[in-house]
C-alpha cells in the first residue's frame, strides 16, 4: 500500500505542491535567516577567530566586546610580560583612522596594528605581497574587498578609468604617508569598514596622540601552563581583564545577542517561517488527510488495519517533509553560493539544516498526528452514510 499512499499524495497535485511549497518556504525562511544571522554574528568576532596564535586576550575590564575599544596604556604590555607562565605577550592596536586615497577621497577605516617583531595577528591569507613586507617603510596591507569597493580609485592620478587600489599606491593615514605593500583577504567586520593592517608602532603614529593607544594585548602561555589560572593571575596582578580565546569570543557574541535587537529581528523572521509552515503546509496536509478520509474509511471497511492506514499517512507526511525540506535547503544553499560573501553575511553551520529539519518534522508530525487522530477515530460504517 506504500506505493498507493504515494500515488494518492502525488496525484492530488494542487495540495501536494501546496504542501511542498509551504514546507520549502518555511525551510527557506528558517535556514536562510538563520544563516544570515550566524554570518552577521560571526563577523562580530571574526578578528578573534582569524588570530589563532593568541590564546589569551587582555583588555580593559570595562570592555564589553571586541570592538568596544577602551585603550590601555602603552606600558601595560610590559606589566603583562612580567607575569610568569606567559610565553609571549604583544600589543595590538585596533581603531578607526581616516584614510585618504590617491585621488583625494577619504574613508574611515579599521586599522589594525600588529606587533612589529613577531607580526602576530596579521592577516592569515595574503593575495599579493607578503606579511614581511609590512617591515618596509610606511608599509600597509589592505583588504582585497576594500580595494574593489571603498578604496576604488575613481580618478586615478595617472589618468584613465577608475581602478581598484593596488600595491604601490600611496595613501595618507591621518595625514601621514603610507604605501600599499600587500593585498590580503580579511574577515569582514560587522560594520563593514575597510581593513588596513600595519605594524603596531606605525599604527600608533597614525593614530591621534594619546597615552592610551594599546587596544588589547594578545598573549600565549608557556607549554603546560593552565590558561584559566594564568588569566586569573593577570586579572589579580594588573587589574586588567584577561580571557581565554573562547571566552572572549563568547563575551563578544553574548553582547551582540543580549544588547542589540538583532536576535529578536531574526528570531521573528524564523518564527514567521515556522508559522508559514504550519499555516500553509500543516493546514494543507491536514486538509489532504481529511479529503482522503472517505477513502481511508472505504479501505478500512475493505480490510485495511488501522496500523496500515496510519503507516500510509506517516509515509505521506515523511515524503512531503523530506521533499519540502530538500527544496527549501537547496534554495538556501543556492542563495548562499550565489550571493557574494562580501555583500551579505551568510554562514550555514551544520546546526541550521538540523534546526530547519526539526521545524519541518514538527510541522509534519503535528499535522499528520491530527490526520492520524481522524483516521484512528474513523468509523468504517461511515462509508455507508453516503
Amino acid at each position: 500500500m506504500r506505493l498507493f499512499a504515494l500515488k494518492m499524495l502525488f496525484g492530488d497535485a494542487a495540495k501536494f505542491y501546496g504542501i511542498l511549497l509551504g514546507l520549502g518556504f518555511a525551510t527557506l525562511l528558517i535556514s536562510q535567516q538563520s544563516s544570515i544571522f550566524v554570518g552577521l554574528m560571526s563577523r562580530t568576532f571574526g578578528f578573534i577567530t582569524d588570530t589563532p596564535q593568541a590564546d589569551i586576550w587582555i583588555a580593559d575590564p570595562d570592555q564589553r566586546y571586541l570592538d568596544d575599544n577602551k585603550a590601555l596604556r602603552t606600558t601595560a604590555v610590559q606589566r603583562i610580560r612580567g607575569i610568569e607562565g606567559l610565553d609571549w605577550a604583544v600589543p595590538l592596536f585596533k581603531g578607526l583612522i581616516m584614510v585618504q586615497l590617491p585621488d583625494g577621497q577619504r574613508q574611515m577605516s579599521q586599522v589594525i596594528g600588529i606587533d612589529d617583531a613577531s607580526l602576530i595577528a596579521g592577516p592569515s591569507r595574503m593575495l599579493q605581497g607578503s606579511l614581511d613586507d609590512l617591515r618596509r617603510s610606511d608599509g600597509i596591507i589592505v583588504d582585497e574587498r576594500a580595494c574593489r569597493r571603498e578604496f576604488m580609485v575613481k580618478r586615478p592620478p595617472e589618468g584613465g578609468a577608475p581602478r581598484p587600489l593596488r600595491v604601490g599606491d600611496i595613501l595618507e593615514l591621518n595625514e601621514m604617508r603610507a604605501e600599499v605593500v600587500g593585498i590580503c583577504k580579511a574577515t569582514q567586520t560587522f560594520q563593514s569598514q575597510p581593513v588596513v593592517y600595519t605594524t603596531y608602532n606605525r599604527a600608533i603614529q597614525f593614530a591621534p596622540p594619546n597615552r592610551r593607544l594599546t587596544s588589547m594585548i594578545l598573549a600565549s602561555p608557556e607549554p603546560g601552563q593552565d590558561i584559566d589560572r594564568l588569566c586569573a593571575t593577570i586579572r589579580e596582578r594588573t587589574g586588567l581583564a584577561a580571557f581565554p580565546t573562547d571566552d572572549f569570543r563568547n563575551k563578544t557574541l553574548n553582547y551582540w545577542m543580549s544588547e542589540t535587537g538583532i536576535p529578536i529581528n531574526f528570531g521573528t523572521s524564523i518564527i514567521l517561517g515556522f508559522v508559514v509552515g504550519v499555516a500553509v503546509a500543516g493546514q494543507t496536509f491536514y486538509n489532504f488527510t481529511l479529503d482522503n478520509l472517505k477513502y481511508f474509511g472505504a479501505m478500512k471497511a475493505m480490510g485495511a488495519t488501522t496500523p496500515r492506514l496510519l503507516g500510509m499517512v506517516s509515509l505521506q507526511a515523511a515524503t512531503v517533509a523530506v521533499l519540502g525540506f530538500g527544496l527549501g535547503i537547496g534554495v538556501t544553499s543556492l542563495f548562499g553560493l550565489t550571493i557574494p560573501g562580501d555583500r551579505l553575511a551568510f554562514r550555514m553551520t551544520w546546526h541550521i539544516p538540523l534546526i530547519a529539519a526539526s521545524a519541518v518534522v514538527l510541522i509534519c508530525v503535528g499535522s499528520a498526528a491530527l490526520g492520524m487522530y481522524k483516521v484512528l477515530r474513523l468509523d468504517p460504517a461511515e462509508v455507508f452514510k453516503g
Binding site: 496525484g11 480490510g303 460504517a381
Partner: protein, 254 residues
C-alpha cells in the same frame, strides 16, 4: 421448506439484533430486535424507508458495527466475537463492498483501485494488478485498466467498484444503494452484472436499496420498518413467512 435449506447453507442468521446510538436524550434506537435469515446462493435486498435501520443492519452484518444485543452469525462466524484487527481481516477475507458513492480513489488508476483488496491481503502488486485486470474483463471494462476513475461514467465506476468488491472472491457481497447514483438504464445494467457475476451457491449478496426498479433482481426482500424486519417476500411480493419470529422467546422486550 426452511430458508436455510433452500439454497446452500445460511449466510446470515440474525436474532433480536439491537443497536442504539448516543445516550440520554440524544439516544437513537436504530435497531430493536431485528430478525433475519438469509441463505447462500441468493440475492437478498434490505428495503425500507429512510431511518428504518437498513444501513445499521447491513453494517452489523458486514462487521463494521458492533451490535448491542442479539445473536448473529455471518457465514458461520459471529463478527462481534472477533476483536480489532481480527474482525478487519475477517472482512478482508469474507466481505466485498460496493458503496453508494463508489469510493474509488481518484489518484489511482482503475486497475489499482480494483487491486486494493488483493494488496491488502498481501498479494504482490504485479500479481494483484494482473488479477485486477482479469476481474475488470469480467465486468466488461477490459482495456480501461490505466484509466483514471473520474474519466469513467457513473455506470462504469460502479462496475469498477463491483470488480474491486469481487476481486478477492469474498463469500459475501454487501452493496449499499448501488444504483442510487445511476440513471435507470445504467442501474439496471449494473444490477444485471451483479446478479450475473455473483450468483453462486456459496456466495451471498445483500443489497440495501430504496430503488424499487431493482427489486426484481432480488430472490428475497426483507422489508424493514422502525428498526425491525417486518416481513420477508420474494421479488413478486409473496410472503416467505419469516416475519418477526421468536422475539419474545429470545427475550427482547419493546
Amino acid at each position: 421448506m426452511s430458508i436455510a435449506a433452500s439454497r446452500g447453507g445460511p449466510a446470515v442468521l440474525a436474532r433480536g439484533v439491537s443497536k442504539a446510538f448516543g445516550s440520554g436524550d440524544a439516544r437513537v434506537i436504530a435497531l430493536q430486535g431485528a430478525d433475519l435469515e438469509l441463505p447462500c446462493g441468493e440475492v437478498a435486498m434490505l428495503v425500507g424507508p429512510s431511518g428504518c435501520g437498513t444501513t445499521t443492519l447491513i453494517s452489523i452484518i458486514a462487521g463494521l458495527l458492533a451490535r448491542d444485543q442479539g445473536q448473529l452469525e455471518v457465514l458461520g462466524t459471529d463478527p462481534n466475537a472477533l476483536r480489532g484487527d481480527q474482525r478487519t481481516l475477517w472482512r478482508l477475507r469474507t466481505v466485498g463492498f460496493v458503496f453508494q458513492q463508489f469510493n474509488l480513489i481518484p489518484q489511482l488508476s482503475v486497475a489499482e483501485n480494483v487491486a486494493i483488496p488483493l494488496v491488502l491481503a498481501g498479494v504482490r502488486r504485479a500479481q494483484a494488478l494482473e488479477r485486477a485486470s482479469d476481474m475488470m474483463a469480467r465486468v466488461g471494462l477490459s482495456g480501461r485498466e490505466r484509466s483514471a476513475p473520474l474519466k469513467l461514467s457513473g455506470g462504469q465506476q460502479q462496475r469498477v467498484a463491483l470488480a474491486r468488491a469481487l476481486v478477492n472472491e469474498p463469500r459475501m457481497l454487501v452493496c449499499d444503494e448501488p444504483t442510487s447514483a445511476l440513471d435507470g438504464a445504467t442501474g439496471q445494467s449494473v444490477m444485471e452484472l451483479i446478479v450475473e457475476t455473483c450468483r453462486h451457491p456459496d456466495r451471498a449478496v445483500i443489497i440495501v436499496t430504496h430503488d424499487e426498479r431493482i427489486f426484481r433482481f432480488g430472490d428475497r426482500i426483507a422489508h424493514m420498518d422502525d428498526g425491525r424486519v417486518d416481513r420477508l417476500t420474494d421479488r413478486h411480493g409473496t410472503a416467505l413467512g419469516l416475519g418477526a419470529p421468536e422475539r419474545t422467546a429470545l427475550g427482547f422486550a419493546e
